[in-house]
């Protein structure tokens, strides 16, 4: 059980039997008045955002969330399909639920899917994913000045800035948290 003063950004709570994540939070106290906890919440199922102000006496249940290892299979008409490696059970996420992770989803990638009861909510990809460069301008002479980068397109359609020496067909490692290039990878 949480009280309003335990709320913080990223905390997941249950309201009316649905899971919410706290996206913004501030303690306020109007002159001589009581402590109030202003927060922005996002419904983890519908994605709906709203503001709520709580008092210190308000309490919350934690949202019971479970993380499962699954494999990314394919995408069709904005639905992303994942499979449980043991039960072979399949679940789907919408493009909104997948969010930024879609830039890094390659076939058979092992990911973690967050569940609330039996509803799949969101996907987390590994911190580092290796992706093939499918489109890049050739390396022009004089581009070797340090700090200079060029845009390339990866197999997922993700566009990223890389050093000028990276060529089409090569594989690079990307940090999925920052979305940035790390290094070239030799197979």
């Amino acid at each position: 059980m949480y009280t309003a003063s335990d709320l913080k950004k990223g905390l997941r709570i249950k309201i009316d039997n649905e899971p919410y994540i706290v996206t913004e939070f501030n303690f306020v106290k109007p002159g001589k008045g009581q402590a109030l906890y202003r927060s922005k919440l996002r419904n983890m199922i519908t994605g709906a955002q709203f503001e709520r102000t709580f008092r210190s006496v308000d309490t919350f249940e934690p949202a019971d969330l479970e993380q499962k290892k699954m494999q990314y299979l394919y995408q069709e008409q904005g639905k992303y399909c994942f499979m449980d490696n043991e039960s072979y059970e399949q679940v789907f996420l919408t493009e909104d639920q997948v969010g930024e992770a879609k830039n890094f989803l390659i076939d058979n990638l092992e990911v973690e899917i967050l569940f609330f009861e039996d509803k799949a909510l969101e996907v987390s990809v590994p911190n580092f994913v290796d992706l093939v460069v499918i489109r890049a301008d050739p390396w022009a002479k004089g581009d070797s000045v340090s700090g200079k980068t060029k845009p390339v397109t990866l197999q997922t359609g993700y566009q990223i800035q890389v050093p000028p020496f990276v060529e089409e067909g090569e594989k690079i490692r990307v940090d999925t948290r920052s979305g940035e290039y790390l290094t070239r990878v030799k197979d």
Binding site: K9, F27, K29, P30, G31, K32, G33, T53
Partner: protein, 307 residues
Amino acid sequence: MERDGRVADKREALWKRARMIRAIRDFFTAREYLEVETPHLITALIPEKYIDAVACGDSFLHTSPELHMKRLLAAGHPRIFQICKCFRDGERGSNHLPEFTMLEWYCRGMDYRRLMEECEELIVSVATDLGSGDVVNYQGVAIRLQRPWETISVREAFASYAPMSMDKAVTGNCFDEIMVSSIEPHLGLTQPTFIYDYPASGSALAKQKKDDPTLAERFELYMGGKEIANACSELTDPEEHHRRFLNVNRYRHSAGKSIYPVPEHFLQDVGRMPHAAGIALGVDRLAMIFCDSPAIDDVVSFVPEFL
């Protein structure tokens, strides 16, 4: 609070803050206010419904210097000011620290209306000293300091900005929520705002208005939507004090909060206290305005998360 506590980035804010505090001292010294220091470690305190003290052994760290400054007024000091640390348990947010710096001053024979003027004079004087001129830019809003500043009663503010009247908000038990969400964001935007005549029910030690005892002679100063100071014409009746203390402690008990020992010496002295007005101003908040800082963290050298 995602900000870290690195002191190096704060060089400019800390210089400005120090200069601001010096300007405050100069202002009061020039007006023959006596700078006082009262104990921070106290055995009894003025109980407030929504302010929790930090306990320290058998004593408490003071939540404001009010109690002992009033005893000094009662002892015959007509004009006093103090800049000190105050401690309030559990208060942490972008405008709150559990240990913060307060400026408090009292003047014999003044009422809350005259105190508004002195408050204007102080802040204009500090702005001049900091070289800010007539306009302070805070978070994209230009706050003009030309006097007189905007005044609006709490009742008018509810009529203008809120979905219901002040009386409805009080009886409906949502005064604070509406204040925070509908009213505060409008206050002190083009110029500083004094919002005055609060419901007596929420004004611990303010004198009630003669022509309407449901209101207290109390005001708050807002700049850039932020509460900067709280002031009132001071209550001087010891029996009324005692009654209010018991009421507050009764509320605290029912709300499951700790009950504070009643300050007996204060109650003995307060009957000798002359008519006076007093004001508490958040020094860190004022520094936020002059440093154009969105978070209180930016204007203090250390925050509690990084001690």
